[in-house]
């Protein structure tokens, strides 16, 4: 009798815990899904599938640990599974190397640059770098958490972050130039870009 009662109460608690622990992260998950899918409908589908998976596996979640990181890991696994179904994943190593050769110099961010400019600059960052920059600098995940979420070595996380941030700064300097702010760093960036293009 006691065991039966206990079972019911455990199921009930699971639902309640999921509501309080996981549901508040739905807006964060949607934002991350948008980075991954670039499309509202696809992002909503991904959030929905992630939440369903999370609910099924919620008994495995350890209370008190980072629930957002746990949910994001499930989201990435689901996303990768969907990608595998759609198409064979392309190797990114070549792209990564090519981009690494054209990394611009650092440039400061001028005040005149708007939020729209920042978002546009982010869009210009190649996807493999952008998602890590966003996970770290926007979503606040640690390198270790990102490594676990994306299932890549921590060294890869660090190098992609380094490159992604550099590209972002470079892109921001292009926006700065459009505002007529042509500082020393921006000039350097432009020179490098010109040199890269002439090759």
């Amino acid at each position: 009798m006691f065991e039966l009662l206990k079972r019911k109460s455990s199921d009930d608690r699971l639902g309640e815990d999921f509501e309080t622990e996981a549901m508040p992260f739905a807006p964060d998950l949607f934002r991350i899904a948008m980075y991954l899918k670039r499309n509202k409908d696809a992002a909503e589908d991904l959030v929905q599938e992630t939440m369903m998976q999370a609910l099924k596996s919620f008994h495995r979640y350890k209370m008190g640990t980072n629930c957002k990181a746990w949910l994001t890991t499930i989201m990435y696994n689901t996303h990768y599974k969907q990608l595998r179904k759609q198409t064979n994943l392309q190797l990114v190593a070549d792209t990564e190397e090519k981009i690494a050769q054209t990394i611009p110099f650092e440039a400061p961010i001028p005040q005149q640059i708007t939020d729209e400019d920042v978002l546009s600059a982010l869009e210009e960052v190649p996807e493999i770098f952008r998602e890590i920059v966003v996970l770290c600098d926007v979503e606040g995940f640690s390198y270790k958490e990102i490594s676990s979420i994306m299932d890549v070595p921590i060294g890869t996380v660090m190098s992609r972050l380094h490159r992604g941030r550099k590209v972002l700064r470079g892109q921001l300097s292009v926006y700065a130039r459009n505002y007529g702010i042509d500082g020393e760093e921006t000039k350097k960036y432009n020179e490098v870009k010109k040199g890269g293009n002439s090759k």
Binding site: M1, L4, L5, R7, K8, D11, D12, L14, G15, E16, F18, E19, T20, M23, A26, P27, F30, R31, M34, K40, D41, E44, V47, Q48, M51, M52, L55, E106, P108, I109, I113, D115, E116, V118, L119, L122, V133, V134, C136, D137, V138, S142, Y143, M158, L161, H162, R165, L168, R169, L172
Partner: protein, 293 residues
């Protein structure tokens, strides 16, 4: 540490990912070097601006309607899981019967209680979103509209209104003329009893102007906690339907369509008094509907 080394690890410093010793070296270098202090401020600012831009961008905001639908779906999922638990308890109780008369009484009492509670049990699963209890039936009605009136792919066969319930007999003769006054271009398509997600509905379908309208009626005896003459409006996103709902004392009535929201609600209003009278034998509902406006 020189400036070159510093620039390499500056972002890790800002992410609080450095070892304590390295952190100390960074701080010592920052005390000495004005250029690097400027650089670290610039990078900190980029992060702040990036985070603020993403967080406030409208297209990165979760749609409220989607969030609400997601909650409904998850609640239903928890409910199904509990239903499984319930059948598990049933099986266990028979084992207990064999064990002894005392245990039979104890477990029998427990099982009877659980069965009699039925769907009401769900309320205890997610008390913090208890309003979804109502929405849950809305979701089932939406599914019935989609699969019965639109896709025609219901798993279970339909049956006559009379077979569904004596109260539903000739329901179409009330619904169709009542709607005819405001939806003159709509034509009656079908009326029957149908089942979706183990819930029985009386279902009347009309079509016109390229749109489909369902009137769905469910007996509230299995949804005791949903009683109360509440009037609600919902919109589903995928696919987009407008839902208007009210309860009589004994039944939930839904109007679901791809018409615009106001027209859909007008249809509900047109049905409210005659259906209330037919199902409950009263016209008290009119007062509640008027107060809703």
């Amino acid at each position: 540490m020189n400036c070159r080394d510093f620039r390499e690890i500056i972002d890790s410093y800002l992410s609080d990912e450095l070892l304590t010793e390295t952190n100390h070296s960074v701080l010592r270098h920052l005390e000495e070097c004005g250029n690097c202090r400027g650089e670290i401020e610039a990078r900190r600012e980029i992060r702040g601006r990036l985070k603020a831009a993403v967080m406030s961008a409208p297209h990165y905001q979760l749609d409220e309607q989607f969030a609400s639908n997601l909650r409904m779906m998850l609640t239903r999922s928890v409910r199904r899981s509990n239903a499984k638990t319930s059948s598990w308890i049933s099986r266990r109780s028979w084992v207990a019967v064999a064990a002894g008369l005392l245990v039979v009484f104890a477990i029998g009492f427990f099982v009877v209680n659980r069965v009699s509670v039925g769907r009401n049990q769900v309320a205890s699963v997610t008390p913090s979103i208890s309003s979804l209890q109502r929405n849950d039936l809305v979701n089932i009605a939406l599914g019935d509209h989609e699969h019965c009136a639109i896709r025609h792919d219901l798993k279970d066969p339909t049956f006559s209104l009379e077979k569904a319930s004596a109260k539903y007999k000739d329901l179409d003769k009330i619904v169709v003329p009542s709607l005819g006054r405001i939806l003159s271009k709509y034509q009656f398509v079908m009326a029957h009893g149908c089942t979706y997600e183990d819930t029985h509905f009386a279902h009347v379908v009309l079509k016109g102007e390229g749109k489909t309208l369902s009137v769905l009626i469910a007996d509230l005896k299995d949804f005791g906690d949903m009683k109360g003459e509440d009037i609600l409006k919902f919109t589903s996103t995928k696919p987009k339907y407008h839902v208007a709902k009210f309860n009589t004392k004994t039944h939930a009535i839904f109007v679901i369509s791809d018409m615009d929201e106001n027209k859909n609600f007008e249809a509900l209003k047109a049905l409210s008094v005659p259906l209330k009278k037919h199902l409950d034998g009263s016209d008290q509902f009119q007062t509640a509907l008027l107060s809703f406006y």
